[in-house]
C-alpha cells in the first residue's frame, strides 16, 4: 500500500535499466523500503541495475520484459501483480534514436513507434486492469516536452511521446474513480545515458530532479508534472507560436 505520506511498499519499473527509474528508487530508498521488480531484457545492463538496487538495501527481483513483445505483456504484469500488489508502476522505457535516421529509415521509425507508443499503450492497458482490481495504485509514465508541440528536429520521437502522453492522460481520467492514480511526467532535456553526447538544452535537468518530481507526484497524486516546473510556462507559450515563426526558432 502507498501510505498517507506517499511512501510505496512495492514498485515495478518497466524499463528497469532506466537512469530515471534508478534515480527514483534511490530517492524512495532514503525514506522507505519498497520491494522492487525490474522489468527489462536480460543482460549485463539489467544485472548491473539489479546490483545497484541491492546496493540501496532494497529487496529486488528481475523479470524478462521486451517493450516490443506486446503479446507477452498481459501475462507478465498479471503475474507480477499476483505475487503482491503493485503500488507504483513506473513506465520508464523508451528510445530516442537518431532524429534524421528516424524519419528516413523505415525500420528505425517503426521501432520507435512500437517501443515508445505501442509498448506504452500495451503495458498501460494491463496496468490499469490489475490496479483497478487492486482498488489502488499509481502509474507513473515518463513522457516528454517533445510531445507537447512536436518539432521538426525530433518529430518521430516527439510524435510517439505525444501519443503516449495523450493515452495516459485519458487513462488517468478513466480509472480515477477506481482508486488508480496516473501521473504523466514531462521532463525537458534530462542528462542521462540516453542523451549522452548531445548538447544540453536550456532548462536541462538531472535524473535526480525527475526522480524528486516523481516522488512528489505519487505523494500528492498529481496528474501532470513538468520538470523543471517553469517548462510548463515556456511550452504553453511555444505551443501558440505560429507555424512560420516556429519553423525559424532554433529548437
Amino acid at each position: 500500500m502507498i501510505n498517507s505520506l506517499g511512501q510505496p511498499q512495492s514498485v515495478l519499473v518497466l524499463g528497469g535499466t532506466s537512469d530515471i527509474g534508478m534515480a527514483t528508487l534511490r530517492a524512495w530508498s532514503r525514506t522507505c523500503r519498497p520491494y522492487v521488480v525490474l522489468a527489462a531484457r536480460p543482460g549485463p545492463r539489467r544485472d548491473h541495475a539489479l546490483a545497484e538496487v541491492r546496493g540501496l538495501g532494497l529487496e529486488v527481483e528481475a523479470v524478462d520484459f521486451d517493450a516490443e513483445d506486446t503479446d507477452a505483456h498481459p501475462d507478465l504484469i498479471r503475474s507480477v501483480a499476483g505475487q503482491r500488489d503493485i503500488d507504483v508502476a513506473l513506465v520508464a522505457f523508451g528510445l530516442l534514436g537518431d532524429e534524421e535516421r528516424a524519419w528516413q529509415d523505415h525500420a528505425a521509425a517503426v521501432e520507435l513507434a512500437r517501443v515508445n507508443y505501442v509498448g506504452a499503450v500495451s503495458v498501460g492497458v494491463v496496468l490499469a486492469e490489475v490496479m483497478q482490481q487492486q482498488g489502488h495504485g499509481s502509474i507513473v509514465v515518463l513522457s516528454s516536452v517533445a510531445g507537447e508541440r512536436v518539432r521538426r528536429s525530433n518529430f518521430v520521437y516527439g510524435s510517439t511521446k505525444a501519443g503516449m502522453d495523450g493515452f495516459y492522460l485519458g487513462l488517468g481520467e478513466a480509472v480515477r474513480d477506481a482508486g488508480v492514480h496516473v501521473a504523466v511526467v514531462r521532463p525537458g532535456f534530462v542528462r542521462t545515458r540516453m542523451t549522452e553526447g548531445r548538447e544540453a538544452a536550456p532548462l536541462a535537468v538531472d535524473a535526480d530532479d525527475v526522480a524528486a518530481a516523481i516522488v512528489r507526484a505519487v505523494a500528492e497524486r498529481r496528474e501532470l508534472v513538468w520538470v523543471p516546473g517553469p517548462l510548463r510556462a515556456v511550452m504553453s507559450g511555444l505551443r501558440h507560436v505560429p507555424r512560420p515563426l516556429f519553423r525559424r526558432l532554433p529548437l
Binding site: M1, N3, L5, G135, H136, G179, E220
Partner: protein, 446 residues
C-alpha cells in the same frame, strides 16, 4: 446492494476503491463468505484517521441504522454495532445512563469503538472500552455468529477488542453503563506553565477525578515547553445544577449546526496560524477555575461542534500521531515533545493524557503511562521526522495507536505490540483463509 466507492479515513489521505455493501444483518453472512480474494472489513463512521476501515479492491460493510435494548435494572445496554455513540447518548442520558467510555468524538459506532478499543478521559480510572463489554456477537469468516466475552472464548474476545475488525464483523454488543443524573459536567480548569507542572499535577491528583485530560501547546519552547490547559471533571448531579436554571439537567448532545465549508484557502493550518491560535487558547484559559458547568458535548466532544472539521487541512489531508510511553518514562516523553516543539510542525489541540493499566487485548493500545496525540498536515518532511519519533517511542517500550496510524513502518509493529503473535494465532484459528482484510492489515502485514 453494492456500490464501488473511493474511501479514506478521517485524515483524507491515501484513497482506495472498494465495493461497499449495506445489507440487513441476516444477509451479512453471505457477504462475508462470498467476499472473494481481497476480503472484507466492516466500517463504522470513518473516524479512524488512517486506513483501518478501507479495503482496496475488496468489500467494505457499512453500518446499518441502530437499535438498542436498555436493561435499566442491570445497568447495561444491548446495542447494534452500527449505532453511533451520538445516537446512543441521546437515548441514554434522559434515562439516567451514560456510555462507560467515550472517545473525543461521538461520531463513532459501537462496533468501531470496540474494534479500536477506544479510550476516553476516564482511562486512568476505568480503562478502555473493552473492559466495559459484557459480551459481543461476532460474525466469523465461516459465516456463523458467535457470542464471545470475557467468559466465552476469552482469546477471541480479547483479539476482537482492539483487533481493528480483523477477527470478524461485530454485529452487536452488551455494554456496562454509567448511571448519571444529568447531561451536564462539573469541570475544573487550570493553566500549567510547563511540562513538569502538568505531569506532576496529573500524577498527583488525577485519581481524584473521573475525567482528566490536558491540552498541550506543542509549539511552546524553552522554559514554557509543555505548557498546558488541564481540564478535569465529573458528571453533574442534580444538586450541582440547583439554583442555576440556565443549566438544564436533561440536555442531550445534538448534531452540529455549522459545517466547515468545502472550499477553503490552502495552508490554513500553518505555523503562524497555529502559533497565534495556541497563544490565544492558552491565554484565554483561566489560571484556575473550579466547578464550571459544561454540557457533555462541550466537555467531551468540542470538535463535534463543527461538521467536517477535517476539511480545514485541505486537499493534502492530515494525520494524527498518537503514541504512549510507559509510566516512569517521563524522560522519553520530554525528549519526544522537545523534538516536536523544535521541529515546529503546526499542531492544534495536541492532547496529553495519563493512562491507567492496559487491558488484555493483544492489539489494544493503552498501557499505564502517558499518551500524546498531535494532528499534523501531511508533508514530505514528516516521513523522516515521524520515523525518528517511532524510534524513540519503541525505545521507551511504548507504541503508536493503530486507529490513528497511516504511515508506520511495518517492521516496528512486533516491538510495539509484543503480543502480536497471540493475535495472529487467534486469527489463524478463526480466519485461516484471511477473509477479513483491510488496507491497514495489508500495509502493516498484520
Amino acid at each position: 446492494m453494492s456500490e464501488r466507492r473511493l474511501l479514506t479515513g478521517w485524515g483524507g489521505t491515501a484513497p482506495t476503491a472498494a465495493s461497499t455493501v449495506s445489507v440487513a444483518a441476516a444477509d451479512l453472512p453471505r457477504v462475508v463468505t462470498g467476499s472473494g480474494g481481497r476480503g472484507v472489513i466492516a466500517r463504522g463512521l470513518g473516524r479512524s484517521y488512517g486506513d483501518a476501515a478501507q479495503n482496496a479492491g475488496g468489500t467494505v460493510v457499512l453500518p446499518l441504522p441502530g437499535w438498542y435494548e436498555l436493561d435499566a435494572g442491570r445497568g447495561t445496554v444491548r446495542v447494534s454495532a452500527g449505532t453511533s455513540f451520538h445516537d446512543l447518548m441521546r437515548e441514554l442520558i434522559p434515562r439516567g445512563f451514560f456510555v462507560p467510555v467515550t472517545p473525543g468524538t461521538r461520531y463513532v459506532t459501537v462496533g468501531g469503538a470496540i474494534a479500536a478499543d477506544v479510550h476516553g478521559k476516564n482511562h486512568h480510572r476505568v480503562g478502555a472500552l473493552g473492559g466495559q463489554v459484557v459480551e459481543l456477537e461476532l460474525l466469523g469468516a465461516d459465516g456463523t455468529v458467535r457470542t464471545v466475552g470475557p467468559g466465552r472464548d476469552l482469546d477471541l474476545f480479547w483479539a476482537t477488542v482492539g483487533g481493528m475488525g480483523l477477527t470478524g464483523v461485530i454485529t452487536s454488543a452488551v455494554l456496562r453503563l454509567l448511571p448519571v443524573e444529568t447531561g451536564q459536567m462539573v469541570v475544573d480548569t487550570e493553566r500549567l506553565d510547563d511540562l513538569d507542572a502538568v505531569l506532576t499535577r496529573m500524577a498527583e491528583s488525577d485519581d481524584a477525578f473521573t475525567y482528566s485530560v490536558a491540552w498541550i501547546d506543542t509549539l511552546a519552547r524553552g522554559r514554557s515547553m509543555g505548557r498546558s490547559v488541564l481540564t478535569r471533571g465529573e458528571h453533574a448531579r442534580r444538586e450541582d445544577l440547583a439554583g442555576s436554571p440556565r443549566h438544564r439537567a436533561d440536555v442531550v448532545p445534538h448534531d452540529a449546526r455549522v459545517a466547515m465549508p468545502s472550499l477553503l484557502p490552502p495552508h490554513l493550518i500553518s505555523r503562524p496560524t497555529t502559533l497565534a491560535f495556541n497563544e490565544m487558547w492558552f491565554r484565554k484559559a483561566p489560571r484556575r477555575r473550579e466547578g464550571q458547568v459544561q454540557t457533555v458535548a462541550a466537555f467531551f466532544h468540542p470538535l463535534d461542534g463543527v461538521r467536517h472539521w477535517n476539511r480545514v487541512y485541505g486537499r493534502g489531508g492530515f494525520l494524527q500521531y498518537q503514541f504512549v510511553v510507559p509510566e516512569n518514562e517521563d524522560e522519553a516523553l520530554r525528549r519526544i515533545l522537545g523534538r516536536i516543539s523544535r521541529a515546529g510542525y503546526p499542531s492544534f489541540l495536541a492532547v496529553l493524557k495519563r493512562f491507567g493499566p492496559g487491558d488484555p487485548g493483544p492489539l489494544s493500545f493503552p498501557m499505564a503511562g502517558w499518551t500524546l496525540a498531535i494532528d499534523l498536515p501531511t508533508s514530505p518532511t514528516l516521513r523522516g521526522f515521524l520515523a525518528d519519533l517511532d524510534g524513540l517511542v519503541v525505545a521507551s517500550g511504548g507504541r503508536v495507536y493503530l486507529a490513528k496510524d497511516s504511515r508506520m513502518e511495518p517492521g516496528l509493529l512486533a516491538e510495539m505490540y509484543p503480543r502480536l503473535d497471540e493475535f495472529r494465532a487467534v486469527r489463524a484459528r478463526v480466519d485461516p483463509g484471511g477473509v477479513f482484510q483491510s488496507d491497514l492489515s495489508r500495509r502493516l502485514h498484520l
